[in-house]
């Protein structure tokens, strides 16, 4: 179908970037609003639950290592039902590409470039996303390897320079919130960083040596989770739970607190660059999955010709969907979690169920004793 291949290490890089994704800027605030100073415990629990979710994907790719989830749908559900399920599946990365574009646009217009009109920013971002997808997954993965290094250098910079501002009173008392609150709040994190990574099952068959690839799925989730835990912990230790919850972008404010000898100051650009790197790769992966998905639904030979028309639709959709921040929040809180769970958890579980039923049927058919009995 497509003869591009990425290696296990590159897949690890992509999983890591995808897991960190938007969470680095947005998630600490939501976690702190729900669990106050225990938000860092929530992020640990969330990363832990993430491993269970990946376990489900593991079971799925073990049975069909050389198929994307679209091809699995068609094989297990039959041609037409399979195509309908695939369309529902593909709607998720497609809509989420536009939503990430909105995230990106609202962050840029509120903090970095307030005078630039939103459609221009959207268009510029869409051009580089479409360019990445047209160049193919190999190029994306290789640039991911380079940018991940940048990311961790900036991350180390942030952690080292912000740590003098830590005040340990901010996380005390520890374990004040109830266990229900901790688990409830962690769902948000599990959905944004792990359940949405179901779209990586579109890329999985392109990885050489898939047996090791699933290992990088777990490791990538762990590295990404560790970054999120550190960022949440730092936000709470430095800013305090209340002010973390009040900010839309707490880690951005966190970087603003950096002040080394009245010389290294106003370094929030650092966190903005980290966010650009991770959101760009998350967006590219979402978009790649949707373009590849559409081409597989229609059995096309190549996905590349669909990139630009779909980029045009994504750009238009993101401007259409960006009405106001309240609506955006409303969608995030009420619908997007359920939408992700339906696509990212329910469809894979359904596939596993159908797979188990079919397998049992086939075994019964081949079982010599049963054949004898029938005779």
């Amino acid at each position: 179908m497509i003869n591009e291949k990425i290696n296990v290490h590159q897949f690890l890089v992509l999983v890591t970037l995808f897991t960190i994704g938007t969470t680095i800027l947005v998630v600490p605030s939501g976690l702190a609003a729900a669990a106050k100073q225990d938000a860092w415990i929530v992020s640990i629990v969330g990363t832990g639950i993430g491993f269970i979710v990946i376990g489900i994907y593991h079971a799925l790719v073990r049975s069909y290592p050389e198929m994307t989830i679209i091809q699995m749908n068609e094989k297990l559900f039959g041609k037409w039902i399979g195509k309908i399920v695939s369309l529902i599946f593909i709607s998720l990365p497609f809509i989420y590409t536009s939503i990430l574009m909105i995230y990106n646009g609202s962050f840029l217009t509120s903090h970095i470039m307030p005078d630039t009109p939103l459609p221009v920013l959207t268009m510029l971002m869409m051009v580089i996303v479409a360019m990445g997808v047209r160049l193919g997954i190999e190029t994306i993965a290789r640039s991911g390897e380079i940018f991940l290094v940048f990311f961790f250098i900036l991350f180390a910079f942030l952690v080292i320079f912000v740590s003098p501002n830590i005040e340990f009173e901010n996380i005390q008392p520890v374990f004040e919130s109830k266990i229900n609150t901790i688990f409830g709040a962690s769902i948000n994190l599990v959905v944004t960083s792990t359940i949405n990574s179901v779209i990586l099952l579109m890329i999985f068959p392109l990885v050489t040596r898939y047996k090791d690839a699933i290992k990088s799925f777990y490791i990538g989730n762990f590295i990404g989770g560790a970054v999120i835990i550190v960022i949440t912990l730092l936000s709470i230790l430095v800013l305090g739970a209340d002010s973390t919850a009040r900010q839309a972008y707490p880690s951005f404010i966190l970087a603003r607190r950096i002040n080394v000898g009245n010389f290294v100051q106003r370094t929030e650009g650092v966190i903005a660059v980290m966010w650009f790197i991770t959101i760009y790769f998350k967006m590219v992966l979402y978009f790649f999955a949707s373009v590849l998905g559409v081409s597989q639904i229609f059995n096309l030979k190549h996905y590349r010709p669909l990139t630009l028309p779909m980029a045009l639709i994504v750009g238009a959709l993101s401007i259409l969907m960006f009405e106001d921040v309240v609506k955006q929040q409303n969608f995030d809180v009420k619908a997007s979690i359920l939408y992700s769970i339906t696509v990212g958890l329910f469809i894979p579980l359904l596939l596993l169920l159908v797979h188990a039923i079919r397998k049992r049927k086939n075994e019964n058919k081949d079982d010599p004793q049963l054949i004898q009995k029938r005779e």
Partner: protein, 75 residues
């Protein structure tokens, strides 16, 4: 003005992608490419002219409304 810009973008997309498809006679690809491009261009022009278009997010929120209310009740 914006409409002209959108039409130029669509023309550029056609100029990039259509010739190779025509040369290789990939009719299926060409059909899906054209319908996607037509949809995208129409959507963009409608947006630029300020036509009221229903927001897809509202649709998704509407689908999941019963479930999200259920969760609020339990939680």
């Amino acid at each position: 003005m914006a409409v002209v810009g959108i039409l130029i973008i669509s023309a550029v997309i056609i100029a990039i992608d259509v010739p190779p498809l025509v040369r290789k006679k990939r009719k299926k690809e060409l059909a899906i490419f054209s319908s996607l491009l037509l949809f995208g261009t129409a959507l963009s022009i409608a947006l630029a002219r300020g036509v009221q278009i229903p927001n897809p997010l509202d649709f998704i929120t509407w689908i999941f409304k019963p479930f999200s209310e259920l969760i609020v009740k339990i939680g």
